[in-house]
Symmetry: D2
């Protein structure tokens, strides 16, 4: 993809953001998820009409077939709004699920689940995190699936199963080989949400609201849910391995999305600094403490973006596995910058900044999770150090 | 007050917190403000029965008559819950309004407004901040009150009028002397909320929820509201001066309350570190990064408390005016520690920390305002520097 | 001691600092330690004449007999100059050695070593840290002392033996009970520096200079040095215990001294901000980023001082052992504030700040060690967390 | 230049660092600048023999003719030692002076000054900063040059004239058009250091040592120094403009050099973490707080490098002027990372870290200036904000 073509793509995406995505923010805020179905559909239709639907998917699935790096760059534009990725058909967790199914799904799985998912006709969720087991140790899991005849019987308790509300199916991580080695115990199994025994317990209220539909995170129980044995993805015991593959690029996408958020917050901060007067003719921007916020933020955002783009290149060239250390680094590095930039943007807005009249409050609250989900900072840091120190001849266990 | 007596007081307060206040948190969360009227009343009744009601008020108003310092210390216990001060009858903004009326109110004002307020029979609000004028420059205000015969006619637009929802009256800051010197333009006027022209526009949604009743912050419009001229508090043009007096101790109370919150968060953090295992038999507390959080937080909270207690002593001995620099210092110093401690407590809780299943999310969200309300960090820092530099022979204007 | 008496004491100390101590800084810088012997002696004589000599020592040893808290307060005044404590006869490591001898020394030891030390006639050093063993684990030590007849034979390699250059004797930590439990292996033994086998290897060059005399830190070797068995301090195997007792208050003294340094740096920063113009008539102080430095520093220094004074009170009331957690907290808390304040003061001075024309460079360089000596931040933090978590029912080993 | 060629170049440079440059550190430390003349010459000869001399200079001047970006990358390798750039003939301030002469020098100036400078036969200095005028306002300068017949007569007082000790000539910034507009008052004039009236006052002692020769910073006075009018560089009043051009790339070179230092410190930190035991068999690296340092540093260094490389590309493509904002951003961004990484590396080394036995102390001390020289952080931040806010329609004066 030429630089110029990329430029044009980003521009067209930006126009769609302006015309269809930003307006969704107020609509969904006012009408809720269900109530804004028409407007959401209209936004997606506009994206499809513009030929920018599902940028990461192959053309045979109705996508643009973008390689990783350009997709990542596009992500920074979509990330400026909570609904950007959704409107473009590349929202988590569906995007990750599509990726897994595309690479490892059987033809039948692809026809039944991937095709409508890629088309935006159904939604899905990924059911891994458990309330009673530390997510920082993904090999320690209580959900079980046992093969009973031709069916998997799934029993377990999950939460932070994002977008479960309204999803057609879940990809569930469950221990199928309890006696296997730590990293080869779990498998991924497709569980339709209308299967008997699938209980959607609640949308968890997070930082002040429980959201709705795609924009929610649920607690789910699996009460001896039976699904055909063909619903296994990849091989038995490969769940952890697939999850690693799935999460690596997912973290990059989060990072790029966060950079989009940073740019949005930065822009709001600058506008406010210029527009708000603290005395007649004296805008906030004349205050050096505000200038400090602006300069620090600019440098941090730019450093973050270049870092993430670089890691996207490494993934394109050497694959996710080779880029593990870099991926962990950007995960905590960018998440922390995100939080600082949002915090400064709020501070510059004063009382207005903490109201829900602006998108900043929503972003600040819901991205507090950025330093936690997909591995808390502390876990990533420890694993970065472990891998670096291996290069110095020291082997440390994963839980020191 | 002897150290021993203080000790006993804090203990009794702690017991009431355990038996009546902490349980209110879940009740109000579940039933809303209105829906939890009975439980709230029961908690207040228990406090009254225990003789700890309105600790800061003189006994003739049904209070304990505590001097400033012991009251401040008690505040750190009450601050552990959002509802502590409310249950003990010393919640903002009522406490500040009581103080103003006690010191400056006429006998008639005291009978009509202070007595029922002190008894907890009515609530009140303080209407100062305006959406269109930077709160950082409190001399720049648009609300006007003009004397028309025997009545003040108040016109203006306010927001962040905390607890206006359900309040019996507001103390309104309005410009009455538009031609006066900057700090002598505004006056304080009592406006009953049932006066024609008083419009409660909305409870502002802040960081994810609009709260309710006492626990809310409103936008209010005054459409030529008429009140008797006797509703003026103190003299004409003294509004700013009274506000300074009112806000000084108010900032100390916020600081003490924040320390209570810090202690609560610290306690939750330690409990979680001990209880949550990351591998069988390996609690989170074995992680040095968590230990780092614990040690840093302990030192910061203790330093903060000693600092605030010291400033309370200075106020007791020399008055609020003499302690302005110190008050500004603790305002930003403690607010920043509060935010760090809450942030760490959430981080140690992982995904659970960002849910509304724990009080941490509510505190984290709603205390983001701590660095903004009653003067943003930046304003306090600039005024601290200005006063210090005056000691070095330099006079800087208030808006440099 | 009344507040007023304290006030007067601090004032008189301040006058001596102005008249005799600050001038020493340039003198020692210009002439070196040896070369400035006369001026140093004159400063000490002035202090003695004023009756402020050895504030921490009992009157029978020529001191003022100050309790801990007032002495700690006095320390913040002396700390404003590198030579304050020296001039007043309460400099480390002599002060700590005096304390140990006073409490645990035999009458003979007191006559021979304590009396001339207290009088400032000789100097001493404390020889504990070893280059090959982590100071963070003080139970792990290589220096040995064996009883051979009536003599201890000491063999070992030490460094950071402060003030060894020119000292009359060292108190040496050496393992005498290699088979004892970890905390009961070492003993403290007095070793005259003219004993055969005592080798002063070098004054270690630290952060750019090796200093001289009292103001230096040496590498020392003990080659089968023989001393009478009466040179043992306290009992066999009590070295670690005594060291703890010695280091506890020593850390408070460091903290108070650091606060003195902070005040010095703060004062220089403010003076510079007022005096230095960035354009005609525009002093640096008009810059908000500088105001930020000033306000942050003021708040941090005040919080630090109140914290340290509080811990001094706890020591006065409950002893060092009971205050271990608090002592560790202030050790890292104040050391970090010290570094920040020095850093800001330098930044405000620009190029001048990094020259040796001002005391800031010396303080910045040599107090980088503050976060390392007497236990690095990380060790103190871990032990604070350990003790706190014990209160939550968790026992963690000292090296997790 | 192909990636592969670049790789090979970096490798060869690394080998020369190992064989000739790192050993210089101890030599110069032990023998001083003058005393190590032979070893320094040998290192430079080895670099010349390897064909890596003066990488930034055209081949006709004996250099490699590297474009900006590859030169910047090479800089990160050279930066690992204080003497890297010196050994390779591209050290500041000579490199900047060469650049100016190459671009703007007359043929005669090139023959007389540039050729021997590029060959490493002479050294030079750049005399701009003044003790009595804030460097943050480069248009405010006291040094004057007046044309008297065919000669410039230069009068002034400068300091931080780096490498003046032993330099053959200085490029002096002096006001020649006192009535001109602020940015067109100064000119650049070549002043041989043997000209009568050139007074080398002293090597300023900075952070503990005054260095020597190239590695020193001097105070210089110009007492009516007369030089031919042909010594003017560029046109009259163009000094500021040329300085901007000179300093822009210079800042990039500093940044790249700092990254080299970071890598050196990082490497030392990791080695120490692995080698130093805190208990038998328990290396420091097992401590999570150390792992935290390692991971944070890795992420920060990588982000910094990618950022600087990006800005080098922008300069290659659009020139220095277009990259002003980015250059200011990396200047403060990287300088702060440098300080953090050095600080952590020292902390991990404990007492050893603050000694001059390792290069860390020297780097820590002398790079404290990084946040000051070539514009303090605060000045760069303010100018970044100013330029960004211009994009939002606000014009702020340069000294707000």
């Amino acid at each position: 993809m030429t630089d110029e073509a990329m430029e044009r793509l980003l521009e067209r995406a930006g126009e769609l953001m302006d015309s269809h995505v930003y307006p969704l923010e107020e609509t969904v805020m006012a009408k809720g998820w269900e109530g804004s179905a028409d407007e959401r559909a209209a936004a997606r239709a506009a994206v499809k009409a513009a030929g920018l639907w599902a940028p990461q998917m192959p053309e045979e699935y109705g996508g643009m077939g973008l390689p990783f790096r350009p997709h990542a760059q596009l992500s920074t534009v979509l990330g400026r709004s909570t609904f950007g990725h959704y409107a473009f058909g590349c929202q988590a967790p569906d995007a990750g699920n599509m990726e897994v199914l595309l690479e490892l799904g059987t033809e039948a799985q692809k026809e039944q689940w991937l095709r409508p998912l890629a088309a935006g006709e159904i939604r899905s969720c990924f059911s891994m995190t458990e309330p009673d087991r530390a997510g920082s140790n993904p090999t320690w899991m209580e959900t079980r699936a046992e093969l009973d005849g031709d069916e998997w019987v799934v029993d377990g308790h999950k939460w932070f199963t994002s977008s479960a509300d309204g999803a057609a199916f879940a990809i569930v991580m469950a221990v199928t080989e309890p006696e296997g080695p730590a990293h080869a115990r779990a498998s991924m199994i497709i569980v339709p949400t209308d299967a008997p025994g699938f209980e959607h317990v609640r949308r968890i209220s997070i930082m002040g609201d429980e959201g709705g539909g795609w924009a929610s995170h649920s607690e789910v129980r699996y009460h001896s849910v039976r699904v055909p044995k063909e619903n296994l993805i990849g091989g038995r015991g490969q769940g952890f391995l697939i999850a690693q593959k799935r999460l690596g690029p997912g973290r990059i996408h989060h990072c790029m999305r966060w950079i989009g958020i940073c740019e949005r917050a930065f822009d709001l901060m600058c506008k406010r600094a210029v527009a708000r007067e603290i005395a007649p003719g004296k805008p906030l921007a004349t205050r050096q403490m505000v200038q400090d916020f602006i300069a620090e933020s600019r440098a941090e955002i730019d450093a973050a973006r270049l870092y993430v783009e670089h890691v996207a290149d490494v993934i394109d060239q050497k694959g996710t596995h080779a880029a593990r250390t870099e991926i962990s680094c950007i995960k905590f590095f960018v998440a922390n910058i995100l939080q600082k930039v949002l915090d400064r943007a709020i501070q510059v807005h004063g009382a207005l900044g903490i109201t829900d009249d602006l998108p900043l409050s929503h972003l600040f609250r819901h991205e507090r999770g950025a330093r936690i989900y997909d591995g808390p900072d502390e876990v990533h840091k420890a694993s970065v150090a472990r891998r670096i120190l291996r290069g110095y001849g020291l082997e440390l266990g994963s839980i020191g």
